[in-house]
């Protein structure tokens, strides 16, 4: 009985770890699709415009953005070596990383919301390794495979 109890605990620990890894894989897939879609778009634009846009009008990944109302007053202190910054806002703000910006730009085809046209799904699958294509299809149908399948094994 003691051994069965230990095995049961081990099983639950593994199920939890698998759930986390599936969520991580889903996020990495979204990142990969958004990233490669962005690169493809930029390369097409560069071909059309016969060259990359002006350097001071582009922001290379990775980056963060902080957005706030235009009326916000921001007090910013910077160390002389630019290693430290301190921002004080008199209003609320939001912080987003570059992947979130790409998702908002539609670079992940709305897969994070489980909505994606068949055309976009085809494109999205072409951006990931073959072994991961089925996971992309599942994301598109909104069937969250993060929790799927484990129920079978747990029963």
């Amino acid at each position: 009985a003691q051994e069965c109890q230990n095995l049961e605990m081990e099983k639950q620990r593994r199920i939890e770890r698998i759930k986390q890894k599936r969520a991580q894989l889903q996020e990495l897939l979204l990142q990969q699709i958004a990233f490669k879609n962005l690169v493809q778009r930029n390369e097409q634009n560069e071909q059309q415009n016969l060259g990359p846009p002006a350097l001071n009008s582009t922001i290379q990944l990775p980056f963060l953005i902080v957005n706030t109302s235009k009326r916000t007053i921001i007090d910013c202190s910077i160390s002389s070596d630019k290693f430290e910054y301190l921002f004080n806002f008199d209003n609320t703000f939001e912080i987003h990383d570059d992947i979130e910006v790409l998702k908002r730009m539609g670079m992940s085809f709305g897969l994070e919301a489980g909505k994606c046209s068949s055309e976009d799904l085809k494109t999205a699958k072409s951006l990931v390794p073959k072994a991961l294509e089925s996971y992309v299809s599942d994301m598109c149908t909104g069937s969250s495979w993060v929790n799927q399948g484990l129920l079978l094994s747990s029963t």
């Binding site: 990775p62 109302s69 209003n91 939001e94 539609g106």
Partner: protein, 48 residues
């Protein structure tokens, strides 16, 4: 007091921390300096 620390460039989980920060900041009951004047809370980013 609660502070949130994020190490930029972490391979995974940063987005969730930023969501938590944005919720914490957006829902804080701190009186905005000019909340009486107009609702100047930032509109969330658009989703194209």
């Amino acid at each position: 007091k609660s502070r949130i620390l994020v190490s930029i460039g972490e391979s995974f989980g940063t987005s969730e921390k930023f969501q938590k920060i944005n919720q914490m900041v957006g829902s804080s009951d701190r009186q905005l300096k000019r909340s009486a004047e107009e609702s100047t809370t930032p509109k969330p980013l658009k989703r194209l």
